[in-house]
């Protein structure tokens, strides 16, 4: 590789925390940075990480950022930084498909609140990332826009539903992307692609202008290559928004400022109930090593059980099915043929749940939220693997875990969906390598509105381990086209 190629790769994999000071001091121009990222997006087109690349807009925004910074108007750590948005986050004047045929030509007239906040922070929008159709699935094998590929193995899924966001960040196609997480759709693709994915507390980041999958389970959150960058991005997208009443009444702490707080003496609960014991051998080995690392950092580790995990999982399923069916009710009646087969089937099944079943699930949710709150009185965080197995192959419907065949759609969100149900903040951070060299993730869960502790633990672990420094092989990506 030439010196120039080395420099381009170093720039592609630089963190926001590293790029920001260079941009601020004008050692690096946002124009050069965005050109490097756009060239790389073109080179790795075969990953199919984007539905729309906003190259012209990105160049305009980068030039504008450069002018502002030269004039002494530096906005903050995202100024001039290339970011992408999952393509169900509204962007004024830019097509927002939700990964669907139904919204294939949908051009919003307003920005989502998150889009506005990133724009005001000076971020440069490089594109709209691919996703599972309407975010209702875990593979990002999209019938309308094609499958997105995992940069660590192009025959593997990147996970979903924010698969394009995870693939882009992992392949160095921008240091950050915003995804959404209804059952694990930020954390699980982050884990499968070897990057960081943060689902904040429900209500921490506005859902206004984000096409819903299930209103009471949806959480927008960042995917990045480092925990520090996740803190930086969260800072910009968090906070009250009158357009989303669930965000009101919160204070937003300085997430970067608390990142390096010591974790020695902190109590962490390792989830060891039967529900959380079901995982592949390579995942178990990496997880046990991760717990050992937490211990060596001075974290007091104890075994805990999630209360009523099976009931929580079933209730969460009933809620997502009911709410998603309601979101899509009119289109299911008028144009069911415009959905892909898997998404249509999931949505239609939701139409068979009754109101009393939905409300029962929501009451059970309140009960279990109280019980989990009790669990988190003695533990500041809980930990488990993010996903029970490494990334399956594209098109695989089932995987074998400890000799038993399980459906991909059921197993992938097993360890993530309970935290959408409880609304608690959870992060996935790379924690090792599984079968075939595919990445694995460690999930750290915290108390409501206490992302600061979740980030501090994840940061301490990340800095003590080498996993965040691994890069996917450049040759693993298929050629453009």
């Amino acid at each position: 590789m030439s010196r120039l190629s080395h420099a381009a790769e170093a720039l592609a994999y630089a963190s926001i925390a590293d790029l920001g000071p260079q941009i601020r001091s004008r050692a690096l121009s946002p124009v050069d940075l965005v050109e490097a990222v756009l060239a790389r997006i073109d080179r790795f087109d075969g990953l199919n990480a984007f539905i729309t690349v906003t190259a012209d807009l990105a160049r305009e925004q980068a030039a504008s950022s450069a002018r502002e910074i030269a004039a002494g108007r530096y906005r903050g750590p995202l100024h001039g930084i290339p970011v992408s948005l999952k393509d169900l986050i509204s962007t004024r004047g830019i097509r927002t498909t939700s990964g669907s045929r139904i919204h294939a030509e949908h051009v919003p007239t307003h920005d989502a609140t998150i889009t506005t906040r990133l724009r005001e922070a000076g971020a440069v929008l490089i594109g709209k990332a691919a996703l599972h159709e309407f975010a209702y699935g875990v593979t990002t094998d999209n019938p309308h826009y094609g499958p997105t590929r995992n940069p660590w193995g192009p025959d593997r899924i990147p996970g979903g539903s924010s698969g394009g966001s995870a693939a882009a960040v992992a392949a160095g196609l921008g240091p950050a992307s915003i995804g959404t997480d209804t059952g694990g759709s930020v954390r699980l693709p982050a884990a499968l692609c070897g990057v960081v994915g943060l689902k904040p507390t429900y209500g921490r980041a506005s859902r206004h202008g984000v096409f819903p999958l299930a209103w009471t389970l949806d959480h927008p959150g960042p995917l990045t290559r480092s925990v520090e960058d996740a803190a930086i991005v969260l800072q910009e997208i968090a906070g009250p928004d009158p357009e989303d009443p669930t965000t009101l009444g919160q204070d937003v702490p300085d997430f970067s400022g608390t990142l390096r707080r010591p974790v020695r003496g902190l109590r962490a609960g390792v989830l060891t109930d039967p529900y959380h014991e079901d995982m592949a051998d390579d995942v178990r080995a990496a997880f046990e090593e991760a717990v050992g690392m937490l211990r060596s950092l001075g974290v007091q580790v104890e075994r805990v059980r999630f209360p009523r995990a099976a009931e929580a999982s079933a209730a969460q399923t009933a809620i997502i099915m009911s709410e998603a069916a309601s979101v899509h009710e009119r289109w299911l009646r008028d144009r069911p043929e415009d959905y892909g087969a898997d998404t249509r089937a999931r949505l239609q099944r939701g139409q068979f749940l009754s109101a009393t079943q939905y409300l029962r699930a929501q009451r059970v949710r309140a009960l279990i939220q109280d019980e989990v709150r009790s669990l988190l009185r003695s533990c500041a965080v809980l930990v488990c693997p993010t996903v029970p197995c490494p990334a399956p192959r594209i098109g695989e419907d089932a995987v074998v875990i400890r000799g038993a065949g399980v459906k991909v759609v059921d197993v992938m969100t097993r360890f993530t969906r309970l935290w959408n149900f409880t609304g608690l903040p959870a992060i996935s951070v790379p924690c090792g390598v599984g079968t075939g060299g595919m990445p694995l993730g460690l999930e750290v869960i915290g108390r409501a509105m206490d992302e600061a502790t979740v980030l501090a633990v994840a940061y301490a672990y990340e800095q003590a381990t080498p996993w965040h420094t691994r890069r996917p092989p450049e040759s693993a990506s298929p050629p453009p086209g």
Binding site: T201, Y202, G203, T216, L217, T246, G249, Q250, D251, P253, T258, R261, P262, V263, R264, G265, L266, R267, G298, R308, A310, E311, A314, A315, T317, R333, P336, A345, Q348, R349, Q351, F352, L353, Q357, L359, R360, A361, Q362, R363, V364, R365, A366, L367, Q369, D370, R373, A380, N420, F421, T422, G423, L424, R447, A448, M449, D450, A452, T453, A456, V457
Partner: protein, 70 residues
């Protein structure tokens, strides 16, 4: 109420256009879910209203200071 005929009756009552082959495929999935949900009637939820939102919050909870560390 989750055999194929039951599902077909519900689909008919609510005007859902779903072919019978799909209903046959979904019946066991829905039956398992409905059985799980039926068991939840016995959980101690009498003091709990539906949650509706992901979590209740009002700032960092007591003891939220992460780090009980020195």
């Amino acid at each position: 109420m989750s055999g194929t005929d039951d599902l077909a009756a519900i689909a008919g009552a609510f005007g859902l256009r779903i072919d019978r082959a799909s209903l046959e495929q979904w019946a066991p999935i829905l039956r398992a879910l409905f059985e799980d949900l039926a068991r939840m009637i016995d959980l101690p939820t009498e003091d709990h209203e539906p949650a509706f939102v992901g979590t209740r919050h009002g700032g960092v909870p007591s003891g939220g200071a992460p780090l009980s560390a020195p």
